[in-house]
């Protein structure tokens, strides 16, 4: 493994604050981009678009000898033709062009390189691996740090850099360290509607120079980062990784998704980022030992980010009260609460009696789950949630609703309303009602908005989700995903108290 021999000693030198500058380039060059096309065609051009979308305040330099201008920016034949200094260079050129452009980076005094370019060690070809090794050695001897190759690079809203057009410009407290670029995009698309905003996203691919240890160490100290979530395929040096993970987990919640848990997954991880994925059992034991949270999918990773970000105060225990409409769904919800390792306490007689003021007898239940038909009436909904949260046996209240069909759609068309209700107004009133109950309670109240079944209900669901995230409510798509995240968060808090 010659590639390791070079990159390993190099990364030993990187102390966390030392790499802060890679997130704060004064200027960025993107080598190998084409002119603007009909749409955002090609990822190379996408990097320029992403920087423009963020209103990056330093110069952006497209580089390509074939073009005069790209996306309204002067395009330079080579890096050496750029008049000012260049801190960061994004490579979007084919592999054979890489060595010369690296030489240009050295000559230009570049500080960091992000290789979007793929086709190195992950191909399994000895020659490609050797080229990767040589490039890293050449860059490092010139003092240049490398992100990648074979990755999407850096997103850092506070310094106005991004790799994907349309990323949120406002920053937040969640950092995502991702060996895969596709997953980084998936996480942005799925976490942003649920209110998550990011301090940094780092897609680092083959990790030929800077690797998971360097980035974890950095994020552990990063003042912008309160929660770390990570997708990791392979670890270069187990001992250093354990140390970095323990260090980070002692400071903030660290949630880890391991790719390559199985034999098939390990083979795929090598084909993807040349990662040598070790034993899943060892990795799990390691996560437990250092106090990190293990997840098994991108969805679960986002759920845990939502739980740590928006549930905020740790629940006092495992008692969940479920509130919503639907008898069959209440049975599922009850099973799923219990199967997640949480409890479904009986509500006290006093609370049940208080709830009966709002809840007709036929076809409902004021036990737990509370199966009620008042969920579309904001005043009664808020009161119901507040009353349920007041029960001494309850630690978390989970309110569920389906915006796909049933009572929701019928309620929009109730004949006792003076005018037809506007769905946007209704979902805002509901989110506000839930937030009022949350503000009046000493316990977390979370929202489960069950999946959309058609485009109308998707529009309603997205409006509701948006209103909930504006209110800082934790929102999940299913009871079982919500309960799984709560259970893992409760365990994490208990572990910290024991430690």
């Amino acid at each position: 493994m010659p590639a390791r021999e070079v990159s390993q000693p190099a990364t030993e030198e990187a102390s966390p604050p030392a790499i802060d500058y890679i997130f704060h380039p004064r200027s960025v060059a993107v080598v190998g981009v084409g002119p603007p096309k009909l749409g955002p065609a090609g990822v190379g051009t996408g990097f320029v678009l992403a920087l423009q979308d963020m209103a990056f305040d330093g110069p952006i330099y497209p580089v390509n000898p074939k073009h005069q201008a790209v996306l309204g920016l002067k395009c330079y034949p080579s890096l050496l033709d750029i008049p000012g200094p260049v801190d960061h260079v994004i490579f979007s050129v084919p592999v054979p062009a890489v060595p010369q452009v690296v030489e240009d980076c050295v000559a230009k005094g570049v500080k960091s390189i992000h290789f979007f370019t793929a086709g190195f060690r992950e191909t399994g070809e000895a020659e490609a691996a050797e080229l990767e090794r040589r490039i890293v050695a050449r860059a490092r001897e010139a003092g240049i740090r490398i992100i990648g190759p074979n990755c999407m690079g850096l997103y850092c809203p506070s310094s106005k850099i991004a790799f994907m057009p349309g990323s949120p410009v406002e920053p937040g407290p969640v950092a995502f360290l991702s060996q895969s670029g596709g997953n980084a995009g998936d996480v942005i698309f799925t976490a942003v509607p649920r209110g998550i905003r990011f301090s940094k996203i780092i897609s680092y691919g083959n990790a030929a120079d800077l690797n998971e240890v360097d980035f974890l160490g950095y994020l552990a100290e990063d003042a912008e980062t309160e929660i770390i979530v990570a997708y990791i395929e392979g670890v270069r040096d187990g001992r250093r990784f354990v140390r970095a993970l323990r260090h980070a987990s002692a400071r903030k919640p660290v949630v880890v998704l391991k790719g390559g848990r199985t034999e098939g997954g390990r083979r795929a991880a090598f084909s993807h980022t040349a990662s040598l994925a070790g034993s899943a059992l060892v990795f799990d034991a390691l996560l437990r030992q250092v106090g990190a949270v293990r997840v098994d999918s991108i969805d679960e990773l986002v759920d845990l980010a939502v739980a740590f970000r928006f549930i905020g105060r740790p629940p006092g225990g495992r008692g969940v009260a479920v509130v919503g409409a639907g008898g069959g769904f209440s049975v599922f919800a009850a099973d799923e609460v219990n199967e997640a390792g949480l409890e479904l306490p009986d509500l006290s007689p006093a609370v049940q009696e208080e709830l009966r003021h709002f809840t007709p007898v036929a076809g409902t239940s004021v036990r737990n789950p509370v199966d009620t038909n008042i969920i579309m009436e904001p005043g009664k909904l808020s009161e119901t949630l507040r009353i349920v949260a007041s029960d001494p046996n309850v630690d978390v209240v989970a309110f569920h609703i389906s915006l796909g069909w049933g009572s929701w759609r019928r309620s929009l068309q109730r004949d006792d309303q003076p005018v037809r209700l506007d769905p946007g107004t209704v979902v805002k009133a509901m989110a506000d009602a839930i937030a009022r109950a949350r503000d009046a309670s000493a316990k977390p109240i979370i929202v489960v908005a069950r999946g959309a079944l058609d485009t109308d209900s998707m529009i309603y669901s997205m409006q509701f989700e948006d209103q909930c995230q504006r209110q800082g409510l934790a929102i999940f798509p299913t009871i079982s995903r919500a309960c799984n995240a709560i259970a893992k968060m409760v365990r994490w808090w208990e572990m910290r108290q024991d430690a």
Copy 2:
């Protein structure tokens, strides 16, 4: 448990063909409906609308002394005022009105009653349970069979009856036996877009007269039903249930979702349908013993219906080949195939070489998972799938695509296309290409269309899903759900071969 003493001996008498008539009423009365309102307000009126939507060819009689007409139909003050015979009566009246309307049914010579009306034994009140018992006894002594109370009743497209407006008029080979009415609606909404059509859906609530044993026995013999899926909260008589389930499972695939698997779920099941849910362990053992398939959610129940309906021929083994775009996603897919108990065989060198004709080297893989960027080119896609399916180690091919972002959206805007592509045309060409490969292969090829991230992608996804179901392709939302369904189906076939 006095209610049992009456209903139990009664159901012993019901031999399966004996209840076929309840699915073929010559006329239907709906008691307790209101006039048409702004929209389809109220479930009672919904039953009339549902029958009208199906173009039920017998008379529909709304009954309510307060109204002259409902939904364009003459409304009668009481059942006894209806001129012709009434076979089936749907009750949408409050509990106190029930006894008199039952007397009217007896006087009118009604054959079957469906009680939408709730508020009986499931309330936990002794008086309500006693009323339920008395009503069943009175009906049975007059030769009337009861569906419910506290349920949505019957959907049978071949006889043009339904409980929910907008249900498909065309029949299909899947029967759904559901103790919950909400779940029955959820299953229609989620299964229909994936191509599932139904022989019968039976929502039977408290099962005070006809129960799961009667309906299972009926569906086992029903010539319209090839696949039975069931949601059951509680079983009245364990021995008779085992016998009915064994009988049905010997004839067709039977997939069972048990509500009330946990202590909390059992309490909720009692509040919902007065069901006494027994031990989950005993129930599981029982399902295994009789050769039924256990599932744990509505989603999984629909997945198994799709697998049995559209994968058709049993896969020859557990070797899955995954084809699609995305390195990180390929790693997840590989892990999920293995974690579902399936295998991810290496593709043979000859197949890998054939694939390289279509697949550039950088950023792709022709191992398994095949990570390729040709998925938007129908000719190459069809060829790729056909070649992968030809590998002797492969038993099933899973093609995955995200219509949310990435290559899909960029491909719609490629500058080498003479005109902008229409998404509807593209998804049809893709579904056709997959179906061509399926037709040219001796092995199942299934589709995984990953979730929509916004309304545009939901429209694309629904169009693609629709094109796939028109081609009779099995379609799933995630790799892990597809693999779980395949694994359970393979085990089911193996069990039958052993038996």
